[in-house]
């Protein structure tokens, strides 16, 4: 029987945007683990009914932005957001939410006011670049992505650039690596995390559950 006999509404699948620049396997694996339906989307037309989108990303800023624009995702994502859909950018996906990056010359999506800067060479040689490893974050109270976390959350980061927000109230969580920076951002229905929730054990699972609405 394929009917939903318990009459529990199944949430519509989260659209995981496949533009050739992300480690999609890990994200799909964790969404499956937390019981959130997900769908890989490689054609922007398929975003038309989407309520929630994840924008993953690894690699360089310009090549990521070029891929989003060339495939028509930049326009489609903006349009969905205007209509109220939620977006979660992960790692490079968060950096592309901003206006620009020192890593490249292209404009970002411009959904969050801010730009990405490269970590400077630190005097402490142990602070290598990229910042790779587990770091605790300081959550700004009232940030919905970080609800239901019962210990100080720590996440797995891999990045050489960090976002500098124009508006302090867009910073949802702070981290520190040689200098303080935005570990997570939020502007209304637009969310971004610099770390990898899909690789961050219980804290990552809780965060993705929060985003997918499973905790409500």
């Amino acid at each position: 029987m394929s009917e939903n006999i318990l009459d529990i509404p199944t949430p519509p699948p989260i659209a995981v945007i496949d533009y050739g620049h992300g480690n999609l396997g890990s994200i799909l694996n964790m969404l499956k683990k937390i019981g959130s339906p997900a769908k890989l989307i490689s054609d922007p037309k398929e975003l038309s009914d989407t309520r929630k989108m994840i924008l993953p990303g690894v690699g360089a800023f310009d090549s990521g932005m070029a891929a989003l624009e060339d495939r028509g995702f930049a326009t489609a994502i903006r349009e969905r957001i205007r209509l109220g859909a939620d977006l979660l950018g992960i790692c490079l996906g968060m950096q592309m939410l901003g206006e620009s990056s020192e890593e490249g010359s292209r404009s970002g999506l411009g959904l969050v006011q801010g730009r990405c800067r490269r970590f400077p060479a630190f005097g402490d040689k142990r602070l290598k670049i990229p910042h790779m490893g587990w770091t605790s974050v300081e959550v700004n109270p009232g940030s919905p992505l970080f609800e239901n976390m019962h210990a100080p959350p720590r996440f797995y980061f891999v990045h050489s650039y960090y976002m500098e927000c124009d508006r302090p109230n867009n910073v949802a969580a702070k981290a520190s690596y040689g200098l303080p920076y935005a570990a997570a951002v939020q502007a209304d229905n637009i969310y971004g995390v610099q770390f990898h929730p899909e690789k961050s054990h219980q804290f990552g699972m809780t965060l993705l559950r929060n985003f997918s609405g499973l905790n409500r």
Partner: protein, 251 residues
Amino acid sequence: MSVRVIPCLLLRNGGLVKSVGFKDHRYIGDPINAVRIFNDKEVDELVFLDIAARPTGLGPNFDLLADIASEAFMPFAYGGGIRDFADVRRLYSLGVEKVILNTIAHEDPDLVARSAELAGSSGVVVSMDVKRSRFGRYNVVTRCGTRELAEDPVAYSARMEARGAGEIILNSINQDGTMEGYDLELVRRVSEAVTVPVVALGGAGSVQHLNEAVRAGASAVAAGSMFVFHGRHRAILITYPDREQLNGVGQ
């Protein structure tokens, strides 16, 4: 930031094994079960090396790796029997964060560069097995410890960094499985020669050993026996230090 402490697990024909000096492999258990235990213990990262993938000519066991990836909610690196760029692509698409290139990095260094182009340097690890001669001379060894190259690990690791390796796993064959501590002189030399993180491997038996490697310059520490054996008689037990102990590593 805390220092990454990484269990390094050896796969052979679908099972987990542990070696001493790259020999005397002992069966440890089922890899999926181990991943679930390491999930519960919230390990920083996991490394899997398939030591049979190359000698048997079968290449990576993609079905098993897909199963491991679907259970691994921490960063997960894989090495062993990677033949070409198609293998690298397939590993990333399964959800492997980092591919580990060892013999193939020596035989086809372009693969290091191409993989780094695809996933960024942080997704490409070059693993280097090193043998110390009786006279204290270090040599890089490929093919699961069977082919000794006339290569100094310092020059070799610098070359791999230049090719695009984002991280170096530095494995001492002499110390492997001894649980007597890392080869600190080797860790020191290689860490000084490269700017990318060096992951020390081979010989750890205690948190004290982890500390020593960090003090010698390692950015992260990996171990096998320490996380799968317990006690003097080496009973099989998957363990991982608690968070409080780990936070002290390298501090």
